[in-house]
Each structure stands twice: as C-alpha cells, then as structure tokens.
C-alpha cells in the first residue's frame, strides 16, 4: 500500500516537472542565458545518458578494446553520422555488439 502511494506521488511529481515550464512560460522571468542554453539540452542530456553505458563497467572507467559496448557504441555513432538513420544505427550497433561478444 505504501509503495502504491509512493508511486502515485512520484507520478504526480513527474507530471508536475513535465508541465512546469509549459504551463508557466511567459509568466516566469527566464534569464536569457538560460533560454539560449536550452538549445543544448537535447544533445547534453543524450550524451549524459549514453556515455556511462559505453564507458563505465560496474562504476569503473574502462577504455580498452575489451570494452565491447564502447566499441559497438562508437561504430554505431559512425553509422549514425553517415546514415542519419535511427533504425540502421540500432541494427548496426546491436550487430557489432553481438559480433564482438562472439569473438
């Protein structure tokens, strides 16, 4: 029961976060530096989500050819840069990982 309550409160807070600026835009003063900084939000948040998955193994930085996810991720980035295609990128990255795991 407590867990249900926690989930409901967490859900309401999450919704509040998503609604925050959408609802309040124009009514709250926003510094121009922050407004200009917003254009970098997609790429910085994406990088912050990607990089730990590629470079960290159980919390430790692993930069070596033994890090299969790093190699597969870098090849996927190359494919993404060449093709700009999400589907092709996912398939290429997944194939690289399976291949690297197999050898």
């Amino acid at each position: 029961m407590t867990l249900w309550l926690a989930v409901i409160v967490a859900g309401l807070l999450t919704y509040g976060q998503r609604l925050s600026f959408i609802a309040l835009w124009g009514r709250l003063p926003m510094p121009s530096g922050m407004r200009r900084g917003l254009r970098f939000v997609p790429v910085t948040v994406l990088m912050a989500l990607i990089v730990p998955d590629l470079f960290l193994r159980e919390g430790a930085l692993v930069i070596s050819v033994g890090n299969e996810r790093l190699l597969a991720g870098l090849s996927a980035a190359l494919v993404a840069w060449r093709t700009r295609n999400v589907l092709v990128t996912i398939v290429a990255g997944m194939a690289s990982l399976l291949l690297l795991k197999a050898v």
């Binding site: 967490a10 998503r18 997609p42 948040v45 990088m47 996927a76 996912i90």
Partner: protein, 241 residues
Amino acid sequence: MSNARKAFFAGVRAELPILLGVVPFGLIYGITALAAGIPPVLAQAMSWIVFAGSAQFVIAQLVAGGAPALIVVVTTFVVNLRHVLYSASVAPYVQPLAARWKRLLAYLLTDEAYAVVISRFREAPEGPGKRWFFLGAGLALWATWQASTAVGIFLGASVLASWPLDFALPLTFIALAVPAVRDGAAAAAAVTAGVVVIVAAGLPHRLDLLVAAGAGAAAGLAVEAMGIRPAPEPARGERAE
C-alpha cells in the same frame, strides 16, 4: 486526409524507429520489476502513472534494496528533473495552445517523444499541426511502452534476459544525438557533457546527469560567445496548431 490527421501520423512515423529501442527496454523493465518483488499490477500501473523508463528502473532497484517510500519519491523526482529542461525547451512552441492541450502534451513529454518533437519543431518552427505531431509521437511511444512492459511482466525472467537487449536504448540515443551536433558550440556541449558525466558518476540520485547537462550547456554557450556561431533562438509567438 485532414491536416490534423496528417500531422498526427507524421508524428507516429517519426517515432517508429525510436520504438525499436524502446520495446526491449520495456520488456527488461517488466522482468526487472517482477524480480524486484513489485506486484504485477503495480509494476504495470507504474508505466502509466510515472511513465518514465529510467525512473521506473531506479524505483525497481530501490524496492529490491528495501528503500523506504520517501527515498523512492525523492529519487524519482531527482532522476526526472531533466523533464523540467524538456518542458522549458518545448514551452515556446506550445505556448499558443489551449491549457487542456498543454496538460495532455505535458503528460506525453518523455525522453523519446521530446527528442523527436523538438527536432521537428526546430526544423519547421512555423510548420502546421505541431500539437498533432506531438500527440502522434507521444501516443505512439505511450502505447508501445504500455504494451512492452506488459509483455515483460507477462514473460517474467526468460531467455530474453540473456540477450544484451538493454543496449538498444543507448543505441537509440546515439542515433538521436549524432545529428544534433550541428556546429562547434553543440560539439563542445556534447563533449563536455560526456566528460563531466564520467567525472560526476559517483553522485547520488543520478545527479551526474543534471550536472553534466548543465556543464555541457555552459560550454556550448561559452563557445557560442566566442563567436563561432550565433544561436538560432526559437521564434516566439508563432502559430502552433
């Protein structure tokens, strides 16, 4: 086909490739939530009450570790703080909409819907049918998330767990991030965010993510200020329909 419907399906189509990464993530969430001892009904309810993949994973981890309810709530709040940034980022584009549209679209503002919607809005800030595009992308993701987590819960631990399916999501994010690096300032922002997130990896509550995003944006602004390229600000007061 009406313009609204066309824009709606354009949103669905734009979201489709992303769904390939979302389905395995949903499956794994379902499996993980059950393994953490969360009752199946609650595990599925989380998918529409919280509706945020990474936060749901964190909740499952916390529950498995016996964390108290307050920690679950606070941690979810911190993990989801990036949604405030998303909200600020799409806000100028949805400003002309009625309040009920804003309330609906805010519910659908996930990582994956945001990435698709914001790149469309930036490419065509004056384009028609923005709210329908957003709704199409958001609902496609919502339905896929509900279905895939349900299948994961239904399957439980299975052979799927031995496949590296969790890698599909970072791959999706890579596919979204690479085209977003359009100029020197964006590249500086991306590299800084990547380095800082590693340095800050020890921070509790996934605060590393926010610190990295903030540092990256600051680096982007700094490079921009050096005159490499001015920022195209989203036009204000444009039509959004």
